[in-house]
């Protein structure tokens, strides 16, 4: 662990944390400012199926259709600023020079044209794919079949050199163990997979990303535990889905916040990734700008905190929509409208100094709906952040502390009769508390135990983590 570790909070109190302002604002791309007293929409999209078949068709889709439509609508609706996000598809990550380079360059050219013509501030985030397979090997030189680790690093280079303003990624470290644990409701396995192994993988990949960004004078954004915590949350689902109890999902998410923090410790400056619902905790700890998604990301998924998620954001995202026609224009235009107007509401509140009122209304809408949402309300997120920084030096201990703190907060509110839980959710919560409390106080002991306990998990290979 050669990286800096957070051992104290950047904000003095929870109440200082609000959308549109970050302690360390950013300025990049074509005039875009993030976290500097203003919220901008971040629009994400997926090409239509079949357009990946040739490079030409893919470039047309991303550049002439998607990017042009977006910029047109931004001007039509009068949005002063926006960010685009391109989450790379497999083909781009698999052959970056051929598939990704012309897309990245083409999108930037369109944005420049609109920026020059109308003065609309904009930037683009490229979220490169991390296709690494645990069974093949996560580190360079290991996967001789696909060369995925090498291609992952090459992706960042190609993105950075061709026009990306922000680099991001959703990395996969520890996911093989987390996948195994999540369907068995085994919180200790999850802690090992994401809290420990995931953090180690982050500490390997993020310094490399930061270097590439620095070399190209662009922004190393941040990560998200999409691979782990979003899977939990997605499976916990809405009120009728019951794949995973929501108390489990809430605790996994808070464990993940300790892991995603490693990107920032490696030099990432934010904005972190929209789908990282651990964002509020990261912002409380680090003061870095945050991208989030909720009400305006119904195109991509529904969760129980659509308003809540806006309360600390600096970029407000739609997560992703496939390009197609709607009565109101193309899908990217419609969803840009939704998130851009939400940003306008937040910005009106900031100008009129009512931003904390609006923040509290966002929170009030969803605070007691589900444990995941409850944990990331700024007051609770701040406390969980504190639990992390108090144990800042050990990936294991700080992840465990985050999980425990989350479980305790949930239990306390439930005891007070505010946050309601189903019987199954309560049982799970009790089991989580017992399980976490039964773990050793030393990292070494925990790792020894876990390596034995999870040695037969399919695809788990300690060499991926130099263990």
């Amino acid at each position: 662990m050669a990286l800096k570790n957070f051992t104290k909070m950047e904000y003095g109190s929870a109440d200082e944390v609000v959308f549109g302002d970050a302690k360390y604002p950013l300025s990049y791309g074509l005039g875009l400012k993030v976290g500097a007293g203003f919220v901008s929409p971040e629009i994400n999209f997926a090409p239509r199926p079949g357009t990946e078949k040739t490079v030409e068709r893919l470039v047309k889709e991303y550049v002439d259709y998607i990017t042009t439509d977006i910029m047109n609508r931004a001007v039509t609706l009068g949005f002063p600023s926006l960010q685009l996000e391109n989450e790379w598809i497999h083909q781009m990550g698999n052959d970056p020079k051929k598939y990704a380079a012309p897309v990245v360059a083409g999108q930037k050219a369109v944005m420049k044209k609109f920026n020059e013509e109308y003065g609309v501030a904009c930037a683009i985030r490229h979220t490169c794919a991390d296709p690494r397979l645990a069974e093949m090997g996560l580190r360079e030189g290991m996967d001789k079949t696909h060369m995925y680790p090498e291609k992952t690093i090459e992706s960042f280079e190609v993105a950075a050199e061709n026009g990306a303003d922000v680099l991001s990624v959703e990395t996969m470290g520890g996911k093989e163990v987390a996948d195994y644990a999540v369907v068995r409701q085994d919180i200790r396995g999850w802690l090992f997979g994401i809290g420990y192994l995931g953090s180690i993988d982050m500490a390997w990949i993020w310094p490399q990303i930061v270097d590439i960004a620095k070399k190209n004078k662009i922004v190393p954004g941040g990560d998200t535990n999409c691979a782990g915590a979003n899977t939990s949350m997605f499976m916990a689902g809405g009120y009728l889905d019951k794949d995973i109890p929501r108390t489990f999902s809430a605790v996994t998410r808070m464990i993940a916040s300790a892991r995603t923090l490693v990107a920032i410790e490696a030099g990432a400056t934010g904005p972190d990734k929209d789908c990282g619902y651990e964002g509020p905790v990261l912002k409380c700890i680090s003061g870095r700008p945050s991208a989030q998604e909720g009400k305006g990301a119904q195109d991509a998924h529904a969760d129980l905190m659509g308003n809540l998620m806006a309360h600390t954001c600096d970029l407000w995202s739609n997560e992703s929509v496939e390009y197609h026609s709607e009565f109101g224009g193309s899908s990217v235009q419609c969803w840009l409208g939704v998130i851009g107007y939400e940003a306008a509401l937040m910005n009106a509140a900031k100008q009129l100094k009512q931003d904390k009122v609006l923040r509290d209304l966002y929170v009030a809408s969803d605070r007691f709906r589900c444990p995941e949402g409850f944990c990331i309300c700024f007051d609770n997120a701040y406390q969980i952040g504190q639990a992390i920084v108090e144990n800042g030096k050990s990936y294991y201990l700080r992840s465990k502390a985050a999980g425990l703190k989350a479980a305790e907060l949930v239990q306390a509110s439930n005891d007070k009769g505010k946050l309601k839980l189903s019987k199954q959710e309560k049982d799970t919560l009790n089991k989580i508390l017992t399980d976490l409390n039964s773990l050793p106080d030393e990292e070494g002991k925990f790792v020894d135990w876990a390596l034995k306990e999870y040695k037969n998990v399919p695809a788990f290979n300690p060499k991926n983590y130099e263990l």
């Binding site: 002439d64 609706l77 009068g78 003065g119 026609s325 009565f327 100008q351 009129l352 009512q354």
Partner: protein, 261 residues
């Protein structure tokens, strides 16, 4: 009530149109298009400046030194070209186009009267709004633009039966047909029309447009060529008159609509 006048509105949402307003110079645009000949220029300027009252005198004057075909081609139509250009750039609004078209019509009547041969339009279009569909404003606008670009328009109206459209095409032998549909549940009339045309061995382009319609749908049936906006009509029509098949129109569609070719 919060103090609304304290708001700096442009920081929340920007009025790009007003921001851009000063940078557009209509005169420079017009200068590139207007004819040199003073009499013809006068005619063109009447159209572009919406001078319905002066145009008849000015056309008469121009006819003294120019053939009627020239007055139409280099006077009236050039005026409409300027109007189209200004409209396309958002300097003119639609009402300008409508009133300019009125002036253009008056001038045309005079010039045509002075022609020795039969009136020559560039081509003919049969237009309609789909069976069951009462939305016709878009179609009406498109019709004006086609007319003022020199095409003969047979406008069948709105909520037009499939068979009425087919009969009209068989009778009038137009260069292309157009259909407008604003409801997803009326646009299915389009392929029914083209199927019947095919049975009668007619294979002209069918321009499909209207809010409900998208390119994918229009290209899902033979003959279908999509149009986004009324201003695309003249671009597509010009290619059709040049002999382009619906296959070729589809292939080069992006470039035609973008005005690149």
């Amino acid at each position: 009530m919060l103090d609304f006048d304290a708001i700096n509105a442009d920081k929340i949402l920007t009025r790009y149109d007003i921001k851009m307003e000063s940078s557009e110079k209509p005169e420079t645009i017009a200068a590139r298009i207007l004819p040199k000949d003073p009499a013809l220029k006068k005619v063109a300027e009447d159209v572009m400046n919406l001078k319905g009252k002066l145009i008849e005198d000015d056309v008469k004057a121009a006819l003294k030194s120019n053939a009627p075909e020239i007055v139409i081609q280099d006077g009236l139509l050039k005026g409409m070209d300027v109007v189209s250009e200004l409209y396309g750039r958002g300097i003119y609004y639609l009402p300008h186009v409508m009133v300019a078209a009125d002036a253009f019509d008056k001038g045309m009547k005079l010039a045509e009267g002075a022609m020795s041969t039969e009136k020559k339009t560039k081509g003919t279009a049969v237009m309609h709004a789909a069976e069951g569909d009462p939305h016709d404003i878009g179609k009406n606008i498109a019709a004006v633009l086609l007319k003022s670009n020199g095409y003969k328009v047979i406008d069948l109206g709105r909520d037009v039966l499939v068979d009425t459209v087919v009969d009209s095409v068989l009778k009038n032998k137009p260069n292309f047909v157009t259909g407008t549909a604003l409801m997803t549940t009326t646009m299915s009339a389009f392929p029914r029309i083209t199927a019947k045309l095919a049975e009668n061995d007619v294979h002209i382009p069918f321009i499909g447009a209207g809010g409900a319609v998208n390119r994918e749908f229009v290209e899902s049936f033979d003959m279908g060529v999509y149009a986004v906006a009324a201003k695309d009509g003249p671009h597509l029509a010009a290619k059709i008159i040049d002999g382009w098949s619906w296959h070729r129109l589809r292939e080069k569609w992006d470039d035609i609509i973008a005005g690149k070719i």
